[in-house]
């Protein structure tokens, strides 16, 4: 079936809006890390945060009064995507748009605060205002209410491949002719607790830079924000193929599963790849698989510049891929060494004839997914 991107929205630590973030990436900028600490621990971490000022343009809405950052990021990105497509949700078409929301850690800030009250002061101190915001689908519910969507709304949970799994689900939904659009949103917020968890899992480094495809996997830096794409059946950028995804059992199997995904998507010409390399063990798996299957493709990852946004990451990659196809250039890949055995854009690189791109998402918790973007 025909699947196209009708509009996109993007909020990251580098800026708010597709064009704003894209321009920062083209200039070779990276987000500024913010130190995060916690009162009961002497450990501190660095993360890429979305500055509060970036949400200044977001119109007030009753649903956002008490909502966590993740819901506000999602609202900002979702509204941008609809505006970019020139689509308005009206009561008469509210059921003809579905919403699929991709998430990994969810509303971790309120979840931590809610549980902290229980641990510190007992169950009677638990806040009935916070609890509903801890539920995975709270951000999707807020977004549906803000946009007026009354039909299908799904929240999908997974690792950093979940964004592409959500797009696959959107494709499944759009086989139903009663739907005109599906808005896919990925969002995440960062907290000290997440940094600590990923550090103990040996996946996080204490401070930037993120060094992609480095022989020594020194770790990632977490980030936050949201990405949104409005899918329809017609548009300038097509999602020519989605891979349903797969999972690896052990880290040693990662390369094999990534290779299968690339092979499925590389049956026709591939000009460049938006990789999910983030400074962890997945970089080596992707590097080996890409070298073996499509050695001539240019490979880019934005994670050195914007960090690992987990639930939002897949959507960010698709936006990057679509933007690169549309603007016919790739930003410079940051913090690379000359020994990387891949074709990487060391500086702004023109893609004059590029028409096909693979977006590859390998999550750190066993999920792998991919899709192919094309200009018709």
């Amino acid at each position: 079936m025909s699947l196209a991107i009708a509009g996109m929205g993007w909020i990251t630590p580098l800026g708010n809006g597709v064009d704003a973030v894209w321009e920062q990436l083209l200039q070779g900028y990276e987000a500024i890390a913010e130190k995060m600490s916690e009162q009961f621990s002497n450990r501190s971490y660095n993360a890429f945060r979305v500055p509060e000022s970036a949400l200044g343009r977001l119109a007030p809405h009753p649903r956002l009064r008490r909502a966590s950052a993740i819901s506000r990021f999602a609202a900002a990105a979702g509204l941008q995507a609809l505006q970019a497509a020139g689509v308005k949700v009206e009561p008469q078409n509210a059921e003809r748009m579905a919403l699929v929301f991709a998430i990994s850690n969810g509303g971790v800030i309120y979840t931590k605060r809610f549980y902290r009250d229980i641990v510190e002061a007992g169950a009677q101190s638990a806040s009935p205002l916070l609890f509903p915001e801890t539920v995975f689908n709270a951000p999707a519910s807020h977004l549906a209410a803000i946009l007026g969507i009354t039909g299908a709304t799904y929240t999908q949970v997974g690792d950093s491949a979940v964004g592409l799994v959500a797009i696959r689900m959107a494709e499944d939904l759009l086989t139903n002719e009663e739907l005109d659009y599906c808005l896919v949103v990925g969002a995440e917020e960062v907290d000290w607790l997440l940094c600590d968890a990923y550090r103990r899992w040996r996946l996080l480094r204490l401070a930037p830079p993120v060094e992609p495809f480095n022989k020594t996997a020194r770790g990632m830096i977490l980030s936050e924000g949201a990405g949104a794409i409005l899918l329809s059946r017609k548009g300038p950028i097509m999602i020519a193929q989605t891979d349903a995804g797969a999972h690896y059992r052990k880290r040693t199997e990662t390369e094999e599963i990534v290779s299968q995904t690339i092979s499925n998507l590389a049956q026709t010409e591939v000009d460049f790849v938006i990789s999910s390399a983030n400074g962890t063990f997945i970089d080596e798996a992707e590097c080996r698989a890409l070298r073996r299957i499509i050695p001539d493709a240019i490979v880019y990852t934005a994670k050195p510049a914007v960090g690992e946004s987990v639930g939002a990451a897949g959507l960010w990659q698709v936006i990057l891929g679509a933007q690169a196809l549309d603007r016919r250039e790739l930003p410079p890949l940051l913090h690379v060494t000359s020994t990387i055995p891949l074709r990487v854009p060391a500086s702004r690189t023109a893609l004059t004839k590029a028409r096909h791109a693979i977006v590859l998402s390998c999550g750190v918790n066993q999920q792998v997914a991919g899709l192919r973007l094309s200009i018709p």
Binding site: A123, Q124, V135, N137, A138, T155, Q156, R168, H247
Partner: protein, 408 residues
């Protein structure tokens, strides 16, 4: 794998069979024990033992016994390292595959609300109290919501891609509904679906803080209902294109014939009192199944026993279906959240197979707000052809699936 019919932009509208199923819940381990509990109207709600409930209003929940859960695992050593949600999923999948060992899904769609939340609690408590974090890598690795699904698949060497749906209390029904549509559209031939959730302190205290849970018995649709009790469990259904299933001689346990969902944007935790959200979901399930309301023989209601839910759902059912027999089986086992829709789909399956309607226990007095035909306190033997199962959740997500006795 995409089917050519869909590549051409056509919908096949294939019939969708349930060819195998498995369940573990407070009602029992497996289909047989579940059936016995339903027929005998057992109250399977007990005092919570997993964590302290001393400061909570509600002290009870439907619980799955750990000893038996671990004893029944194929690899006991591995099961002890996994989250108990994984153990429940493994149990349910093992029962499913015992019926249909040849079932090779192309996709797995599972609902949950909280994943391995209790491991997140262990981790936070240890951090906060400067306790031992020796086990923290295992807690962190087994906390994510997709992990129990992947664990269950790996146990039986299934490598289907997973979609994990977290639509609050409607997750299980949404998962089954989406899986149904995937097979019906012709995009997939075989899909594994269901839901799971394990009891956790954070969620238990959360519902208690909202005063949604009750210190008394759970009495859905009763005039004096005071709230819900929580539960836990896992349930899996193997869905297959009916023609393909028949061609390979698979048993057809029932058909799923319709699915409807809606989103009411009234409030994050409360349903629109008009019942419009549930009503739209049920209307869409009827449209999807292409039947009229008077064809429905039984409704397994969401029926949490909270004043708001039962009023809205009861109103919508009375308006749409009149006096069709309804019950909320949550009265017997509590509300298992992401598992609820899947466990209740299994209950509907058993009702269709054994031609009875399961009871709504602890029922004393009808609510005057809606004229409902409650299956009060005892199971009823009756002829059933078509049944509807409802699940509604936080965030205003409403889902209904239609199931039908298989007639060749």
């Amino acid at each position: 794998m995409l089917k050519s019919a869909v590549e051409n932009g056509k919908s096949t509208n294939a019939r969708v069979a349930v060819v195998a199923a498995g369940v573990v819940s407070p009602l029992g381990f497996g289909l047989s024990e579940t059936l016995d509990s339903l027929r005998e109207a057992r109250d399977c709600v007990t005092r919570v033992t997993r964590f302290s409930v001393a400061e909570c209003r509600c002290k009870t929940a439907g619980q799955v016994a750990d000893e038996r859960l671990l004893k029944d695992q194929p690899e006991a050593g591995r099961a002890r390292r996994l989250h108990r949600a994984s153990s429940m999923m493994i149990y349910a999948l093992r029962e499913t595959l015992a019926q249909e060992p040849q079932f090779k899904p192309e996709l797995t769609v599972i609902g949950t609300t909280s994943g391995g939340m209790s491991y997140g609690e262990d981790y936070y408590r240890s951090l906060y109290r400067h306790g031992s974090l020796r086990d923290s890598p295992a807690w962190i690795a087994n906390y994510p919501a997709q992990k129990p699904v992947i664990d269950a698949q790996e146990t039986f060497e299934i490598s289907a891609p997973c979609q994990v749906i977290a639509n609050a209390c409607a997750s299980g029904t949404n998962a089954i509904g989406h899986a149904f549509e995937c097979v019906r559209s012709g995009r997939y031939e075989r899909v594994l679906t269901g839901g799971y959730d394990a009891l956790s302190e954070l969620v238990f205290v959360g519902f208690d803080s909202l005063q949604a849970s009750t210190p008394e018995k759970c009495r859905p649709f009763d005039r004096h209902r005071t709230g819900m009790v929580l539960g836990e469990g896992a349930a899996i259904l193997a869905l297959e294109n009916l023609d393909a299933a028949r061609a390979r001689g698979a048993p057809i346990l029932a058909e799923i014939t319709g699915y409807g969902m809606s989103t009411d944007n009234f409030h994050l935790t409360q349903p629109d009192p008009s019942g419009i959200g549930p009503r739209r979901a049920m209307e869409r399930a009827l449209q999807s199944a292409q039947i009229s309301a008077d064809s429905v023989d039984y409704i397994n209601a969401h029926g949490t026993a909270t004043p708001f839910n039962d009023a809205a759902e009861g109103k919508a059912i009375a308006e749409l279906f009149g006096r069709v027999p309804i019950s909320s089986t949550k009265s017997m086992m509590g509300h298992s959240l992401g598992a609820a829709g899947a466990v209740e789909a299994i209950i509907c399956l058993l009702a269709l197979q054994h031609q009875f309607v399961p009871p709504n226990i602890n029922f004393r007095a009808p609510d005057q707000l809606a004229d409902l035909n409650i299956v009060a306190n005892e199971a009823r033997r009756t002829a059933l052809r078509t049944v509807l199962s409802n699940s509604f959740g936080f965030g205003g997500t409403n889902a209904s699936i239609m199931m039908q006795k298989f007639e060749a």
